[in-house]
Amino acid sequence: MLKAGIKRNKIIRGIILYAILSIGAATMLVPFIWMLSSSFKSLNEVFVYPPKLFGEKIVWQNYKQISSRFNFFSYFCNSAIVSAWVVVVQVLTSATAGYVFAKLNFKGRDKIFILYLATMMVPFHVTVITNFLQMSRYGLVNTLWSLMLPASVSAFGTFMMRQFFITVPNELIESAKMDGCNPFMTFIMICFPLAKSTIATLAIFCFMNTWNDYFTPLVYLNDERKYTLPIGLAAMKGMYSTNWPVLMAASVVAVFPVLIAFLLAQDAFVKGVMMSGLKD
């Protein structure tokens, strides 16, 4: 009798847990589902009250309009260029410096590294004003360089890579040295390949942040042809604030790359976010 009671309690508890989680998940997913379904609706159907999840028929036209009525393709390409640069360059500079901080012995190393750590808590807004003034002096405002150059180096990325290289056994590096490798060769041939999963985590995290970044392009770009996706999309929203189906279609396309990356590497995403939170 007692056992049956415990079992029944367990089932009830399970039902409650899944019910709570499902309600929560629905709250998270409904806006996305609505975005997707609205992107296939006709213009009239989004104004229907009470709102309906599905339209009468699928309107592919919305997806054609995002490129015919806006420079959407150019926004997408600009975002791709900036993201590709930032991911590749930031991973390279972070991995190299992370390795140096972890495994090379030089004067002032710990002091410099602590300086890097200390800047991680500095809000972005503290540096963006004078960075903007600097960029405008070099004539780089309104070019993609203004987004790519400052993001080429990251204290957080350097910290993350160092945390990994610290775990590489010294014996490995010593034996490479015996075989005549200089520190740079040891790094490239031996340690860099070992860091694959940390590099993947950093790359994905970096890609997501750059692809989604709204503040930086808002500050630096004012020529519509230079716009990246977030700011281009925001401009579309400003111009055609009531053409919801086209805006939703554009949103779906904008989310797509990050979503694919997320579905392929959910664990790396979660790890990256956790590292970013636990950086102190």
Binding site: F32, V100, D110
Partner: protein, 303 residues
């Protein structure tokens, strides 16, 4: 603290041959970028906060004038207050919800990845996309929010376009976007609690709620505190949804610190004043970080 511990764990001086030359060659690209885009701008912003500069005429030294203006400026007071209200609206609710979801997610076996992915989705989505969808949800005439609330007998609201609900509307979006992020951190905290505690409590005949209240909550305290501080720091820097959904309006009803900073720097071109605001923000974040580090240290000693 972990940081100092790790710094100490690196090889001692003399244990390895010095490689200053190689170190600097390899470090150079990173250090140049770090100096140019981080360290020098940080110092420059501080210097500029004592100046008046509109990008047209040369900067003029004005001493503490910007900071004095900041204290007297009623708008600064209003936006700081709005930022605090936004923090109060988002942080406690967000923390309770994310903790409950993390505990629920931690105790199920099936569909774990699906749920985690679903909750995490808003965290990886651009705020621009989120603002488009939520502006439609908040639409007073045909939006989903009023429709949904009508089932509970709530009268239709104007959400983003009324000064009494604009900040709350932004806070709801803020909570919704951040929930999965905090949940993941709580989840890793929960996984760090040894199962011994739970087993011992179960032997003593504690029920699930007692275990949650007397075991999980106290042992999770370092994580909870960490999430708390991080959430406050994050909400003090809120900007994207404000700029995208209300532009701080109607009036100044949803304008926050970073929004006002942005306006001063890039719309009014009052660079010196914007720099002073940036350092106000920095000071707040700094205080929170120091409290966080101190408390973390204390907690590590107790647990």
């Amino acid at each position: 603290m972990e940081r100092t511990a790790q710094v100490k764990r690196t090889p001692k001086k003399g244990a390895l041959k010095r490689d200053d030359g190689w170190a600097w060659v390899m470090l150079l690209p990173n250090v140049i970028g770090f100096l140019m885009f981080m360290l020098i701008p940080m110092v420059a912003t501080f210097v500029l906060s004592f100046m008046e500069y509109d990008m047209l005429s040369a900067p003029k030294f004005v001493g503490l004038q910007n900071y004095k203006d900041m204290i007297e400026d009623p708008i600064t007071r209003q936006v700081t207050w709005n930022t605090i209200v936004y923090t109060i609206l988002t942080v406690p609710v967000g923390m309770v919800l994310s903790l409950l979801l993390a505990v629920a997610l931690d105790s199920i076996n099936y569909l774990k990845r699906f749920f985690r992915g679903a909750y995490f989705l808003p965290s990886i989505t651009s705020m621009v996309v989120i603002s488009i969808v939520w502006q439609w949800i908040y639409n007073p005439e045909y939006g989903l929010m009023n429709f949904f609330l009508s089932f509970f007998g709530v009268s239709p609201k104007k959400w983003l376009t009324s000064s009494s609900t604009s900040l709350i509307s932004l806070a709801i979006v803020g909570i919704w976007k951040r929930l999965g992020y905090d949940m993941v951190i709580f989840l890793s905290g929960l996984q760090g609690i040894s199962t011994n505690y739970y087993e011992a409590a179960q032997l003593d005949g504690a029920n699930k709620f007692q275990i949650f209240w007397h075991i999980t909550i106290p042992l999770l305290r370092p994580t909870t505190f960490f999430v708390f501080v991080m959430a406050i720091i994050g909400s003090f820097q809120v900007f994207d949804q404000v700029q995208l959904m209300t532009q701080g309006g109607p009036g100044r009803s949803s304008s926050v610190l970073v929004h006002y900073l942005y306006q001063n720097a890039f719309q009014y071109f009052k660079m010196g004043y914007a720099c002073a605001l940036a350092y106000l923000l920095f000071a707040i974040v700094l205080v929170l970080t120091v409290i966080n580090m101190r408390t973390e240290k204390k907690m590590r000693e107790t647990f």
